[in-house]
């Protein structure tokens, strides 16, 4: 019997720095599997964000650039315009993409830039220690919303997939999660689809992945999965929000 399961070539041997119960590792793997399956590792450039995933390049075996906070879509634009033959993806969290980088992602999506964004939404700032994000849920407690997010003061959480899907430029915009195997299979399909659209030069593609942050949520990994399913997925509903014609 041959080998049936192995580490993707696009993943390195580095030990993870992510916390127990964090979903970044699963998402990294899905991206790496996609890169392997499409045979594009030698012409892929990833762009790391600022946040927990700033060190994402330690785990991928392909060229990488490291952006400033929120600016990954502008960097991806620069690379892709200058070198359309490269496969370019940004990997960004919700503080990075939905707060400080909102301008860059909206305009890149609206220009129809032919790169792929993996948007990891865990409703909180992770690396800086659990501050409120634009995606933090109403009444959710964080270090900068210690009494819960007050929507009267700071508004409702931003639904990025819906927001970007409202743009008139063709795009592939989907929301997935990876908290259980049934979701992981769908997320994998979506990520591969997003890269495929890029490969065919069809459109901008973004996969929002609703994720966990047990450390900063103050939950066990199991409780974090349950809370994600009950609370986050009720507000951030999975599904395709925009598909190119």
């Amino acid at each position: 019997m041959g080998k049936t399961f192995k580490k993707p070539e696009a993943l390195s041997d580095a030990h993870t720095h992510y916390c127990p119960g964090c979903t970044h590792g699963v998402i990294h793997r899905l991206v790496a599997e996609t890169i392997d399956e499409l045979g594009i590792r030698g012409r892929t450039v990833g762009i790391a964000p600022v946040g927990c995933a700033v060190l994402a390049y330690n785990y991928f075996n392909c060229d990488f650039q490291e952006a400033a906070h929120g600016r990954a879509p502008a960097m991806a634009t620069g690379i892709k315009r200058a070198r359309p033959d490269l496969m370019v993806f940004t990997y960004q969290g919700d503080g990075d993409l939905a707060s400080i980088g909102m301008g860059e992602i909206i305009h890149a999506a609206n220009r129809g830039e032919k790169f792929t964004t993996i948007f990891v939404n865990n409703a909180i700032y992770g690396m800086t220690g659990g501050q409120m994000a634009p995606t933090t849920m109403p009444d959710q407690r964080t270090s900068t919303s210690p009494f819960g997010r007050n929507v009267e003061e700071v508004g409702m959480p931003i639904k990025v997939a819906e927001l970007l899907a409202a743009l008139q430029t063709p795009a592939y915009i989907t929301r997935q999660t990876v908290i259980r195997p049934k979701y992981i299979n769908k997320a994998k399909k979506a990520i591969k689809q997003a890269f495929t659209y890029q490969m065919e030069n069809t459109c901008f593609s973004l996969v929002e992945v609703v994720s966990t942050c047990p450390t900063n949520w103050g939950m066990t990994p199991v409780d974090a999965i349950d809370w994600t399913e009950k609370t986050l997925l009720a507000y951030y509903q999975p599904g395709d929000y925009k598909v190119p014609a």
Partner: protein
Amino acid sequence: MSKVLMKGNEAIGEAAIRAGCLNYFAYPITPQSEVAEYLVRRMPEVGGVFLQGESEVAVGYMLFGAAGAGERVFTTSSSPGISLMSEAISYIVAAQCPAVFVNIMRGGPGLGGILPSQADYFQATKGIGHGDCRLLVMAPASVQEAVEMVMAAFPLAEKYRNPVMILGDGLIGQMMEPVEFPDHLKTEPSNKDAWAANGMDHRGSQTRNLVKSLFLDSTALNDNNLQLKAKYDRMRAEEVRFEAYNTDGDYRGLIVSYGTMSRVCRTAIDMLKEEGIEVGMIRPQTLFPFPAKDVGDAAAKPSCSHVLSIEMSMGQMVEDVALGVLGRKPVSWYGKCGGDVPTPEEIIEVVKERIG
């Protein structure tokens, strides 16, 4: 090639193409928007990339992305726009990527005005971004020199793997002058395979490249900053450029001035000569590295009683002039920065007063 009459901004755009730079990202801002208006038509003719970004912030990172992928890339902007790009410039310096930024300066601070100024001297030469971050800065005094400096900027940026800035006042961008473009249309880019994230297949390598500015380990960060310092020191040793005017014989005063301002000073020096008053001038062509030793040597001439830094700012370069002179002669400043350029008559009056 024969001379053509061209506006400075358009000549800058053409010079970049002739230097082999086929990637231009920019955001409109007066007084340099003509560069974009020229290149939006010209880039497609040569198979190049033109993109108007959504902000100067984004444009800075478009440059970082393209530069990190090993491509020649440049932008043009003006003072408030350069402030917005300065974040990206710091990252590009830290990640050691080549790129060219052109700043056609307008008055500041704040929105300031749209008339010519040289008030971004400090920003360009000392405070462009956070961290130990410096640019090689060249200041043209004519449209012809702007063309030559833009063409020189790309190989220099690659030599040092560091951004280069062309610092021109608004007049350089706006005025029309005869220009002769150098014969060579293209300088070959350096081999960037050792560091650029240009795709492993592209460079036929099994080893990936990483373009980054984060060094969490204190020794690694210190080492990166030592590498940057070694480059700045090498620039100081190898790239200082200046022009001396009327410094062969004795002179009673020395003017230090750059860009358009230096041309007015030159006229004033000629007029003073007719009156029998000899004044010399050092015109820095590189602002970083600054020709400090050369200014000091010129000031040290026994006949020279006073050194005058004349700038369209409230006194910025004068600090570097004073550092060069090292207290050997009195140093003072004269200038304006509302948009008016001091006239030769004004300069003559100031010179006479200061040299006594």
